[in-house]
Structures are given as structure tokens and as C-alpha cells.
């Protein structure tokens, strides 16, 4: 492979790594927001916590 080809592979790996991590952050945040929405509103607190 030419130097240009190797460079493209390397830049592609860096881009995929950064984009992949960003995607994982977005997915994790979305899942947590869904769990938050699934909780009953105005959940009464346990007397032991008040």
C-alpha cells in the first residue's frame, strides 16, 4: 500500500475511535434519560430519608 493509503487507514482509525466514543456517550445518556422518564412522577420519599 502507498504512504497515502496508510495515512488514510490511520486517520480513519482515529476518526472511528473518536466518533465511536462520542456515540457511546450519547447512547449512555439517552438510556439514563429513558430510565429517568420511566420513574413515577412525584415519588413519595421513604420516611427514613426525610
Amino acid at each position: 500500500m502507498s504512504g497515502f493509503g496508510w495515512m488514510l487507514v490511520a486517520f480513519g482509525c482515529v476518526g472511528a475511535g473518536i466518533a465511536g466514543y462520542l456515540f457511546s456517550l450519547v447512547v449512555r445518556e439517552r438510556r439514563l434519560e429513558n430510565r429517568l422518564k420511566a420513574l413515577p412522577l412525584n415519588t413519595p420519599r421513604h420516611p427514613a430519608d426525610s
Partner: protein
């Protein structure tokens, strides 16, 4: 409700940081391809040499991330405050990501330049050890659900693991290695070092990667806080529903 303005301000700051990081990353690509052309005619220069502009900033961000883990871990062991643990955990995750990028881009450059993917020399081996150490750190954190226990154990690994960072950095001076030493300004006497355009591209990429690290870390810490909050609310909801069920079964039927 009082936390609303501060939350929206932190979201705005996060967005500004993200835009700055991606903007500078785009600018660095322009500089890498259109400005940093001094070494194009040298042997080993040209497109292959451009890998360096992402390889070295990735290594710098890995050092920075593990330094944050080191400082946050010490602070966590001293204070037992959860925020330090969240910071250390997030930073270790990002450090592992960028060390992975170093370990991927290095061999891609080495194959055509050295004729081999890998050499067991001091720089490469100590970097691999660093990566494995912090991979172990993340694995350790997933072993237990008790955040205080996993935080304490991980903090010890995070502090001890950082001892490898100076070994990685100075390995090229302490031992004979194939790996080139860090970038230096141009030396006209022997045509080595980076020219003005190359330095511009390099430092732009370095700042872009640093901002990207700060952006990722801020997002990761926010997710950590949100996870803690959701866990707490779910426990509260579970306890409250048990209380309501118990009270409902204990209510006497009217008229009896």
C-alpha cells in the same frame, strides 16, 4: 428549580467547548494537508509522515488523562467525595481510548517506515503496559456494584499506574529505542525538526485534541452524575412503592 439556570449554563458551556474542539480539529486537518508541506520531499515525509499529527496529540491526551486520574484518585482517597471518583473514572476511560489510538496509529506508521508492525522496544512496550494497566482499572471498576469500594480500589490502581507515564515519556532517552524522540523545531544545519507550517499544524492539532479531551470528560462526568441520580431515584421509588403496598394491605375495611 433553583438549579435550572446553572444547568442550562453548564449545557451551553459544554456546547461551546464541543464546537471549539471540532472547529479546531477541522482547522488542524486543513493545516495538516495544505500548510505543513515542508517535509513532503524528504525520505519518509509526505502522506505517511502526517500520521504524526494525530499520533503525538493522542499520546499527549493520554498522559493528560492519566494525570487527571492520578490527581483525582489522591483527592478521592483523602476526601472520599464522589465527584473525584467520577472525574477519575471518566478520565481513565478517555485515557484508554487515546492510548488505543496511539497503539493503532503507531504500528500503521511503523509497517511502511520500519518494515514491521511492532518492536518490543522500551517506548512501545511501556505504552502497551500503560494501556493494559488502565484497561485493568476499568475492569476492576466493573467487578463490584459498591461505588465506595470500587472507587477506593480503583484509586490505588490509578495512582500506581501513573508511575508508568514518566517511564513511557523518558524511555527514548533512558534506553536505545527505534522510536523517534519528540518533535523539535527545524534545525537548518541538518534539515531535521519541524518547519513553521508543520509546527502550526502540530500545535493546532494538539490544542484541538486537548479541547476534545475536556469536552469528553465534561460529558462523561455529567453522565456519571446522572447515573448516580437515576440509581438513587429508582431506589427511592422502590422503597416508596413497598411502603404504599404495605399501608394498603394494613388499611381496615370501613364498617368492620
Amino acid at each position: 428549580m433553583a438549579a435550572q439556570p446553572s444547568t442550562s449554563r453548564s449545557s451551553r458551556n459544554l456546547r461551546v467547548l464541543g464546537v471549539a474542539a471540532w472547529g479546531l480539529l477541522g482547522l488542524s486537518l486543513i493545516f495538516i494537508f495544505f500548510v505543513a508541506r515542508e517535509a513532503d520531499d524528504y525520505p519518509g515525509g509526505g502522506p505517511l509522515q502526517r500520521i504524526f499529527y494525530f499520533h503525538v496529540p493522542s499520546a499527549w491526551v493520554a498522559y493528560l488523562a492519566f494525570a487527571v486520574v492520578f490527581i483525582s484518585s489522591i483527592a478521592y482517597l483523602r476526601t472520599a467525595e464522589r465527584r473525584w471518583d467520577l472525574l477519575a473514572h471518566g478520565s481513565a476511560e478517555i485515557g484508554v481510548l487515546f492510548t488505543s489510538l496511539v497503539l493503532i496509529t503507531g504500528p500503521i506508521w511503523a509497517r511502511p517506515a520500519w518494515g514491521t508492525w511492532w518492536q518490543w522496544d522500551a517506548r512501545l512496550t511501556s505504552t502497551l503496559i500503560l494501556w493494559l494497566t488502565y484497561l485493568g482499572y476499568l475492569f476492576l471498576r466493573s467487578l463490584t456494584r459498591d461505588p465506595a469500594r470500587s472507587g477506593r480500589l480503583a484509586a490505588v490502581v490509578g495512582i500506581v499506574g501513573f508511575l508508568d507515564v514518566p517511564i513511557v515519556h523518558f524511555s527514548v532517552r533512558w534506553w536505545r529505542t527505534l522510536h523517534p524522540s519528540g518533535p523539535t523545531p527545524a534545525d537548518p544545519t541538518n534539515s531535521s525538526g519541524l518547519g513553521a507550517g508543520e509546527l502550526l499544524a502540530f500545535f493546532t492539532a494538539l490544542i484541538a485534541f486537548t479541547l476534545l479531551f475536556a469536552w469528553f470528560l465534561a460529558m462523561r462526568v455529567r453522565i456519571g452524575r446522572l447515573a448516580d441520580e437515576v440509581d438513587r431515584l429508582e431506589i427511592d421509588a422502590g422503597r416508596a412503592s413497598r411502603v404504599l403496598t404495605t399501608e394498603a394491605t394494613e388499611v381496615p375495611v370501613a364498617g368492620t
